[in-house]
């Protein structure tokens, strides 16, 4: 057995036991029968992989994923959705937009699941100086310093930001050209904090806009939905999200 820590979040007792037994000889396994129970697990322990059912009693898998990815401590945890939901590509896209690395339909073949787990473990290497920085268009993100700067003509301009502002802007950069809802932003940036409202999102976005100089119009309100981050003149089909060497 290796030291890989896996959290299985599944409300069906039968399926939870089957996954636990099937993976237990190879990995360290914890289980939770609800997202709420899983939230308390991740408060006390870090996991390499989370196997997540979508349809759960109470908080669903998508909201849990957003919360998990919104925490600095667990944002790099690989999430694999396992769901019996009637197959719709929109469901998969929702999972991927929230940061999931994979999406499997029940009943899952355990050999395939193990193979996918291994692939994701190989991909997720410890953070080093090499992958400290990444770039989205004119923006450069320093994940270690939690700082973001942008290119303006020949110079780099640092954006002075609070921790919340950094988390919000980073979320937008990771979801460039996607419409994100206020609920997604609340879950991802504020996590468990209850003392926030939709208005909190709007205020924080106004503050960020004021700091983006020539890119102040990058965050646009999408009526009835939320917000979209895009940079004018940047081809959204171009591969422009790269690591900085």
């Amino acid at each position: 057995m290796n030291n890989t820590e896996i959290l299985i979040i599944e409300d069906s007792e039968l399926e939870r036991k089957l996954l636990e037994k099937s993976l237990g000889e190879s990995y360290q396994i914890d289980t939770a029968e609800s997202a709420e129970m899983a939230l308390s697990r991740i408060e006390s322990k870090d996991y390499d992989i989370v196997l997540l059912d979508v349809q759960l009693p109470g908080m669903d898998g998508y909201r849990f994923c957003a919360q998990l990815k919104g925490r600095t401590r667990s944002k790099d945890t690989a999430v694999i959705f396992i769901t019996g939901k009637q197959f719709k590509v929109e469901d998969k896209l929702m999972g991927f937009s929230l940061g999931a690395v994979d999406y499997l339909i029940k009943p899952v073949d355990i050999r395939e699941l193990k193979a996918r787990i291994e692939v994701h473990l190989q991909k997720s290497q410890p953070r080093t100086e090499e992958n400290r920085y990444y770039r989205v268009g004119p923006f450069e993100i320093d994940t270690q310093r939690q700082a973001i700067c942008y290119d303006n003509k020949e110079e780099k301009v640092d954006i002075p930001m609070s921790t919340l502002e950094y988390r919000l802007l980073q979320f937008f950069l990771r979801h460039k050209d996607h419409v994100v809802t206020r609920d997604q932003l609340l879950d991802s940036v504020w996590g468990n904090s209850r003392a926030v409202t939709d208005r909190s999102v709007d205020v924080l976005i106004s503050k960020i806009r004021a700091k983006l100089g020539p890119f102040s119009n990058s965050i646009k309100a999408v009526r009835g939905c939320g917000y979209r981050f895009s940079v004018d003149g940047l081809d959204s089909n171009r591969e422009d999200s790269t690591k900085v060497s």
Binding site: S12, L14, L18, S22, G84, P107
Partner: protein, 118 residues
């Protein structure tokens, strides 16, 4: 009624945990499925179709893991029917649920009849 159990699914359970584990899962499947069928009957009589579909969703995947594909397919039909935009047919859902009960009774006998030497 002759219900065909998917032996490939059972082999996967046996490979994962052996015969004792298989027996444990059969008992869990028995308890949970009885509860789910009762819950679906109650929800149908209250015309709470969406909630009935959610229970069917859980029954669908649990049955697939236990190799009871016919029951899984019927549960999927109930789930799909409750998710559709058109009119809900109580008669159709009730028929599906009655068939689920018959299949469950037969499949449970078959699942319990599988023996294996230690």
């Amino acid at each position: 009624m002759a219900v065909k159990i998917n032996n490939e699914a059972l082999d996967k359970i046996l490979q994962a945990g052996g015969y004792e584990f298989y027996q444990e899962l059969v008992e869990i499947y028995d308890t949970n499925t009885k509860e789910q069928i009762s819950e679906m009957q109650r929800l149908l009589s209250d015309a709470r179709f969406k909630e009935c579909g959610k229970v069917a969703h859980t029954l669908k995947s649990g049955s697939a893991y236990m190799g009871v594909d016919a029951l899984s397919s019927l549960a999927a039909e109930i789930e799909l029917h409750t998710l559709q935009d058109g009119a809900i047919s109580l008669e159709f859902l009730t028929e599906c649920l009655s068939e689920i009960q018959l299949i469950f009774a037969e499949s449970l006998l078959q699942l319990r009849s599988i023996k294996m030497s230690a």
